[in-house]
Amino acid sequence: MNVLDVQDLKKHFPIRAGILRREIARVRAVDGVSFHIAEGETLALVGESGCGKTTVSRCILRAMPVTSGAIRFAADGGGQVDLARLSKRQMRPLRRHIQMIFQDPYSSLNPRMMVGDIIAEPLKVNGVSAAERRDRVLELLDLVQMPPGARTRFPHAFSGGQRQRVGIARALALNPRLIVADEPVSALDVSVQAQIINLLLDLQDRLGLSMLFVAHDLSVVRHVSDRVAVMYVGRMVEVAPTDALYRAPLHPYTEALLAAVPAPDPMRRGRRQVAQGEVADPAKPPTGCAFHPRCPHAVERCRVERPELRPAAEGRYVSCHRAEELDLVGVR
C-alpha cells in the first residue's frame, strides 16, 4: 500500500497590487503534480530552483494551504485521509506521522535546549511519559550513532554533521510513517555528507523508512533514492526508478540535467552537452511544454500543446510528446 498518494496537486501564489490588493496574476508554483510513495520507499524530488519541489514538500507537511488537488495519506486503521482538506486543528493529531529533516543543521535545533530535550520534544508533545522518553532518546542517539552523553549537551557543542544526526533522531522519534527530507546533506562538507548519506541508507534498511527526499544534487539522489521524480516549472516531467532514469532518461530535461552534472572524473571532461537558456519564470511559463524553448528536440506541437504526465514502460511516467521517438543519453 502507498503511504502517500498525491493527485493533481496545485499551489498558486496570487500576486496582488493596488490598495484593494486585487489579484493581478498568479505564480503557478505547483501546477498539477501527481505521484505516490510506497511503503518503505524513498522517492527523490529533484529539479532546479523555482521548479516547485520545496513547495510540494511544504504542501504535504501542510505548512501552507493547498490551492487544489488531493494529498491522500495512510491513516490509522488502513484507510486514507486527504491532508489537503484538513484544517489546522484537524491536522495536529496527524502531524506525528509525517516528520521532517531540515537542510540547515544550525537553525533547525533550538540553541536553548539540550540535545536530549530536542529529541524528546516531539515525544513530550505527544504525551509520552518521562521514563519512556529517556529510554527512547538513548535508543535514538544510538540509532544515529551519537554517544549517550550528547543528551546533556547543547547544540553549539556539535559540528554540522553531528547536529544533522540530532535532527534525524528528532524526526525518527515518533516512528513516523513518512519523512520529508529537505536537502538534508547539501549544507554539509563532503566528508560529513558521506557519513549522513550512509546513515540514511542504514536507517532505510533497518527501519524501512518511507521518505520524500527533496534535493538538487543528482549525485546524492542516485545513492539514496529508489525512484526519482523530476520537476520543471511547477510540473512533473518524469518519474522513474532511479537506475532506469539515470541510464536512459525519457525526457529531454532529465537528459540535460544529467549532462550538466560534472562527474568526478577528468577523463570524461568535455563530453557533455550543455542545455542553453535559463529556467523559465513560473509567473509566466512558456506555452505548451514549459521546456520547449530550451529543448533541442522541440517541434511545433511542443509549442502549442501541453504534454500530460503519462505512463511509459515499466513503472515509468513521462510528460513529453516525443518520448517514444527520442533516443536520449543518460549516464553510466
Binding site: 532546479e48 530552483s49 559540528s159 554540522g160 554533521g161 553531528q162 562538507d189 563532503v190 566528508s191 560529513v192 555528507q193 558521506a194 557519513q195 548519506i197 550512509n198 541508507l201 532505510q204 538538487h216 544534487d217 543528482l218 549525485s219 546524492v220 542516485r222 545513492h223 539514496v224 529508489d226 532511479t242 537506475d243 539515470y246 540535460a256 540535467l257 544529467l258 549532462a259 550538466a260 552534472v261 560534472p262 562527474a263 568526478p264 572524473d265 577528468p266 577523463m267 570524461r268 571532461r269 568535455g270 563530453r271 557533455r272 550543455v274 542545455a275 542553453q276 535559463e278 529556467v279 549516464v331 553510466r332
Partner: protein, 346 residues
C-alpha cells in the same frame, strides 16, 4: 578532452608565485593559524583548482592574495610574488593593502569572481554604471570608450542584448545572468590572473555547466591564470589543469588533475575522493567515509593535522612531527608515506 591528457611540462609564464604564506587570526580565545606555509604557482593560461572542506583555508588564500584579510587576521609570513623573476616583480605581501599600487593590482592584475555575485554588485546602480566605473578605474579612457568596452564585456560573457542590459539593475537579473555580470566585472580591468571563489556553488546545475563553459572559453581566449576555488570534485575534474588539495591551512597534495583522480598521493585526497557521491553510483551504494569532522582551525591537532582522521597512519611520527610541505611546482604530497624509503603501512 585533449586538455586533460596534456602532460607537457609547465612552460607557461608564472604569473603569481606564492611562497610559505601564513595567515593568523588572533582573538581572545587564542591564535588561529588559518594558513600555515602555503606555496604554489599560478601559470598564465592554466587553471589551478584549489579544493578542500570548510576551514581548510581556500578562501583565506584568495583574500590574502588580494590583501583583503580583515583584522584580526594578518599575514605573518611568506611572499606573494607577482611576475616573479621579471623586471617588475612585486611582493604583494609587502604592499600596504590600502596603497594605490595594491588597488591597481586588485581588478587591474587580479580579478575576483565571487560565489554570490550580489556581493560584488551594488543594488543601487545599474550594471552599466558599475561596469563602466570598473573599466575607468583601471584604464584611462573616455566615457564613451568605457561604455563600448562594457558592452563588449557583457557580450563576451554571453549576455544577450548587452546594450539594453546596461540599464538593468542587478536584482532584475536571474542568478545565472548575475554571475555572468560578476564575471564581466572581474574582467573589467583586463586582469591576467582571475581568482574564482566557488563561482558556481550558488547556481543551478544547468546554469553551473554554462558558467563553467564560459570560464573555460574566456581563459583560453585571454590566456588567464585561473585559480578556481571549490569544494566540488566534479568541478575540479571538469576544469582544473593542476589541483591543490588543502586541509587545515596547508596544501596536502599538489598534482596534475589526472593524477589526483587516478592515483592520489595523500590519504586525505584518497579518502575525500571515495567520499564524494557520484552520479555514476550503483543503487543504494554506500560511500566510504572519513571519520570525525574537520577540526576547528583553532584546535589544530599536533603533528600532521590530518592524523586523527587518517586511516593510513603509520605511527608516532604522524602524531609528533609535521610532514614537509609540498614543494611548489612539483607534484607531491605533504605526508610521511610519500617520503622516500618509507613503505605504506599494511
Amino acid at each position: 578532452m585533449a586538455s586533460v591528457t596534456r602532460q607537457t611540462p609547465m612552460v607557461e609564464r608564472v604569473a603569481l608565485a606564492i611562497r610559505d604564506l601564513a595567515v593568523q587570526f588572533e582573538s581572545e580565545q587564542g591564535v588561529v593559524r588559518a594558513l600555515d606555509g602555503v606555496s604554489f604557482d599560478l601559470h598564465a593560461g592554466r587553471t589551478l583548482g584549489i579544493v578542500g572542506e570548510s576551514g581548510c583555508g581556500k578562501s583565506v588564500t584568495a583574500r590574502s592574495i588580494l590583501r583583503l584579510v580583515d583584522r584580526p587576521g594578518r599575514i605573518t609570513a611568506g611572499r606573494m610574488l607577482l611576475d616573479p623573476g621579471a623586471e617588475g616583480e612585486v611582493d604583494l605581501a609587502a604592499l600596504d593593502p590600502e596603497s594605490r599600487r595594491m588597488r591597481g593590482v586588485r581588478g587591474g592584475r587580479i580579478g575576483l569572481i565571487f560565489q554570490e555575485p550580489m556581493t560584488a554588485l551594488s543594488v543601487h546602480y545599474t550594471i552599466g554604471n558599475q561596469i563602466i566605473e570598473a573599466v575607468r578605474q583601471h584604464a584611462d579612457c573616455s566615457a564613451a570608450e568605457a561604455r563600448n568596452r562594457a558592452v563588449d564585456l557583457l557580450r563576451d560573457v554571453g549576455i544577450p542584448r548587452p546594450e539594453t542590459r546596461l540599464r538593468a539593475y542587478p536584482f532584475e537579473l536571474s542568478g545565472g545572468l548575475r554571475q555572468r555580470v560578476g564575471i564581466a566585472m572581474a574582467l573589467a580591468g583586463d586582469p591576467d590572473i582571475v581568482i574564482a571563489d566557488e563561482p558556481t556553488t550558488a547556481l543551478d546545475v544547468t546554469t553551473q555547466a554554462q558558467i563553467l563553459d564560459l570560464l573555460r572559453r574566456l581563459q583560453a581566449e585571454k590566456q588567464i591564470a585561473l585559480m578556481l576555488i571549490t569544494h566540488d570534485m566534479g568541478v575540479i575534474a571538469e576544469m582544473a589543469d593542476e589541483v591543490a588539495v588543502m586541509y587545515l591551512g596547508r596544501i596536502v597534495e599538489f598534482a596534475p588533475v589526472a593524477d589526483v583522480f587516478s592515483a592520489p598521493r595523500h590519504p586525505y585526497a584518497r579518502a575525500l575522493l571515495r567520499a564524494v557521491p557520484s552520479i555514476l553510483a550503483a543503487p543504494r551504494q554506500r560511500l566510504s567515509t572519513i571519520g570525525g569532522a574537520v577540526p576547528h582551525p583553532g584546535s589544530r591537532p599536533s603533528g600532521c593535522p590530518f592524523h586523527p582522521r587518517c586511516a593510513e597512519i603509520i605511527g608516532d611520527i604522524c602524531r609528533q612531527q609535521i610532514p614537509a610541505p609540498v614543494e611548489p611546482g612539483r607534484a607531491g604530497a605533504s605526508c610521511f608515506l610519500t617520503e622516500p624509503g618509507r613503505e605504506r603501512a599494511a
